[in-house]
């Protein structure tokens, strides 16, 4: 089936396009722009009028937790894929902290097989740096790359052993793959369940100092400089991390970074009433950190927005704060929350789209995030004016755990196309 998307404002940062165009999709590929009248009488052609909407390369979320294998009650590859499509994502990269951990070829192959079976969005597995993510023995990087992994991370656990991190960087570098680092010094963060600051001081929860993240960001930058390898800093949450990354980039070190919407939307104030839905790792930080994250988005220090989609079941969150699971279900709110940065003038729309398309594609070296001719027809159409209420009951994700519940948001994906096929439509 061929498709004509008519009258949308096409924004493709990879090619510098930003204009109203009619975009033609043929055989699952981008066939290019067509003028009014031309090719429109093709009986095979399905025409969708998207005037007034924004058409962008399919969004990419490079940090998602699909809970399969192991915790299917929280999410499956199928339910996560559905949530991704509904959130406007055509490609997602999934973290390896499943059960078993994705530290071996067969698990990577299993994930890809399942993803292909449900056939909704592109799923790119990220494999573990170390066996069982225990931080002791490197997993088989070659094998994992051949099986389809696009990066390595022990997300959920930091690599505390600096020597192992150095070897991982060297090895990944030779395969032209990034190491994605969950930065946390576990001795400094031990026992902590929220940001250490005035709120933790008052409500008596054990705090995690910003330095627990920053020390590891600094270490990883030093190791990236030493090895010449590419380090990608996951979920940046503090002002100090932004500063360190900014300086490292200025010195030409191969470092990239992501943050998640909750870090530029919320602060630790959200925890005053012990709301476990706002319990995340790293924790929601202070107002100055939130401000610095926004600045880092604006000046390019932070390359991409990742959802860090962490779906949990009700029973994982309906517990005393100390025992509740960390994480926010993010795929279905990520784009809308990110659009608020445009509404507030922190990013232009093309800058935001860049952070959610071509930047993550480049970091992961995947052939996505572009509307160039002959590229896979992965497309997201956004209605930037559409108002909607966050109602987790409506989520496709099995995880309903969001602190944004009940909020009115503006802007939403209304059409998600993967390989020329419509995977989500709300037009």
């Amino acid at each position: 089936m061929n498709l004509l998307l008519k009258g949308g404002r096409v924004i493709d940062p990879s090619t510098g396009v930003d204009q109203v165009q009619n975009l033609l999709i043929k055989n699952g590929k981008i066939a290019g722009r067509v003028e009014e009248g031309q090719a429109l009488n093709d009986p095979e052609l399905d025409v969708i009028d998207i005037s007034g909407k924004i058409l962008v390369p399919g969004l990419i979320d490079m940090h998602t937790h699909l809970r399969e294998p192991g915790d299917e009650y929280k999410e499956t590859i199928a339910s996560g894929s559905e949530a991704a499509a509904a959130g406007g994502f055509t490609s997602i990269a999934c973290m390896p902290n499943t059960h078993p951990v994705n530290d071996n070829r067969s698990t990577t192959e299993f994930i890809l097989k399942r993803a292909a079976e449900c056939g909704l969005v592109n799923v790119y597995p990220i494999a573990a740096i170390s066996l069982k993510s225990e931080g002791a023995i490197l997993s088989e990087f070659w094998d994992l790359k051949e099986a389809g992994a696009v990066g390595f991370s022990d997300d959920g656990k930091p690599v505390m052993n600096s020597a192992l991190m150095r070897r991982a960087l060297e090895y990944a570098s030779s395969l032209d793959m990034p190491i994605i680092s969950h930065c946390e010094d576990v001795n400094l963060s031990a026992g902590g369940v929220m940001h250490e600051g005035a709120v933790s001081a008052e409500i008596g929860l054990v705090g995690i100092p910003a330095a627990a993240e920053e020390i590891m960001v600094a270490r990883d930058i030093l190791l990236a400089e030493y090895t010449g390898a590419h380090i990608h800093i996951a979920h940046v949450s503090t002002k100090g991390s932004v500063r360190l990354i900014h300086e490292a980039k200025a010195r030409g070190i191969r470092v990239t970074a992501e943050t998640a919407p909750h870090y530029f939307m919320l602060t630790d104030e959200a925890l005053r009433n012990f709301d476990t839905f706002a319990k995340v790792y790293p924790p929601l930080r202070g107002a100055k950190d939130r401000e610095a994250i926004r600045e880092g988005m604006n000046d390019g220090t932070i390359d991409t927005i990742a959802s860090d989609h962490a779906p949990h079941a009700r029973t994982d969150k309906e517990l005393e704060f100390d025992y509740a699971a960390n994480g926010i279900t993010g795929l279905e709110t990520s784009l809308s929350l990110s659009l608020s940065l445009v509404q507030e003038g922190i990013l232009t729309l093309p800058e935001l789209i860049k952070k959610m398309t071509i930047n993550p594609a480049r970091i992961l070296h995947i052939p996505k995030g572009t509307l160039a001719a002959d590229a896979d027809a992965d497309i997201t159409v956004i209605d930037t004016e559409k108002e909607w209420l966050v109602d987790p009951r409506m989520f496709r994700s099995r995880g309903k755990n969001t602190p944004f519940q009940g909020q009115q948001l503006r802007g939403k994906a209304v059409l998600t196309i993967v390989g020329g096929e419509i995977r989500f439509r709300d037009l």
Binding site: A201, E202, L205, F321, D322
Partner: protein
């Protein structure tokens, strides 16, 4: 009948922390408690005020003192009191707190008193259950009944709280007693100074309106009230302080440093006291010590709260 006849009702379902209470509410509770002191001095220490009411003491953390105090308070008001002890480890393994709470709710108690090692646990119950919840101490968050009995004790000796200089000494970071007292005392117009090793002072605690010192002498100087906190001896192993001996040498209340305070200084401690660690042995029993008054007032304050929440009437 002799219990307060003209007491207004407390216009809230739960007592979760001092933070939420207004000055008027605190005064109401303290006045009500005053009127209950007398009941405990009678030959027959019982009034029929809460006859037919059921109070559950749900303790996930051992505390003989607080639990007994609540139990006696309930019994003196003629309520039926039920004690449930559970260990936190069983919570993590099996039945969740919410499961337990829903089960208790089905048995229709009137008030649930909860002590839990996790901060925020009473808040969670209060959101879910119809019953009144009283926080009997949650993690390092709040211990409102302790702060109320402390305020009652200060008020009865000093005539009031406004304008007093109060020093709180010791492990502020892990102390719910400290947090509740900081909320209460600052709200009632006292100036609060805290002191302890820097490892026991929470980051950014100044934002609660206290002055922070790392030398005990500076906090104690000219104080009207000095409150020593209990030191959890196992914290040594968490590198919070090098040794009990060193702590005692620099942060224990003794004859020498207490002489910096006002002559009529009140010495308080939430108990149980590690003698020779928080307070030198002679000082704990001196005339300025009100440690046992605190215990007595604890029963009266808890009677007042049960009475005000259960909407007791005099029949």
């Amino acid at each position: 009948m002799e219990t307060p006849l003209n007491v207004r009702k407390l216009d809230r379902k739960d007592i979760l922390g001092i933070k939420e209470l207004s000055v008027e509410e605190i005064n109401l509770i303290l006045e009500t408690a005053d009127s209950f002191v007398e009941v405990s001095t009678r030959e027959i220490k019982k009034v029929p005020t809460l006859r037919g009411k059921t109070i559950i003491n749900l303790f996930y953390e051992a505390s003989t003192r607080t639990r007994t105090s609540f139990e006696i308070a309930g019994k003196r008001l003629s309520a039926d009191t039920v004690n449930i002890s559970a260990s936190t480890s069983s919570v993590v393994k099996g039945e969740t707190l919410i499961d337990t709470a829903r089960n208790l709710e089905s048995m229709n108690p009137d008030i649930i008193v909860i002590r839990h090692s996790a901060a925020g646990a009473p808040q969670m119950l209060a959101r879910i259950l119809r019953q009144s919840i009283i926080n009997a101490g949650d993690g390092a968050h709040e211990h409102p009944t302790q702060a109320l009995l402390d305020m009652m004790t200060i008020k009865s000796r000093k005539g009031g709280i406004a304008g007093l200089k109060v020093a709180i000494i010791g492990d502020i970071a892990h102390s719910r007693v400290a947090r509740s007292n900081i909320h209460g005392l600052t709200k009632m117009g006292a100036r609060v100074f805290i002191a302890g090793p820097p490892t026991m002072i929470p980051y950014d605690i100044e934002k609660m309106g206290v002055t922070v010192h790392t030398r005990i002498e500076e906090a104690i100087r000219d104080a009207d009230v000095v409150m020593a906190l209990r030191i959890q001896t196992e914290r040594e192993k968490q590198c919070i302080f090098p040794s009990l001996r060193e702590y005692a040498q620099h942060f224990s209340l003794n004859k020498r440093n207490i002489s910096l305070a006002r002559k009529d200084v009140m010495i308080m401690h939430p108990g149980p006291v590690n003698r020779g660690v928080e307070i030198s042995p002679d000082l704990a029993d001196c005339a300025n010590s009100v440690i046992l008054d605190q215990v007595t007032n604890g029963v009266a304050v808890r009677m007042a709260l049960l009475y005000l929440l259960a909407g007791g009437s005099n029949t």
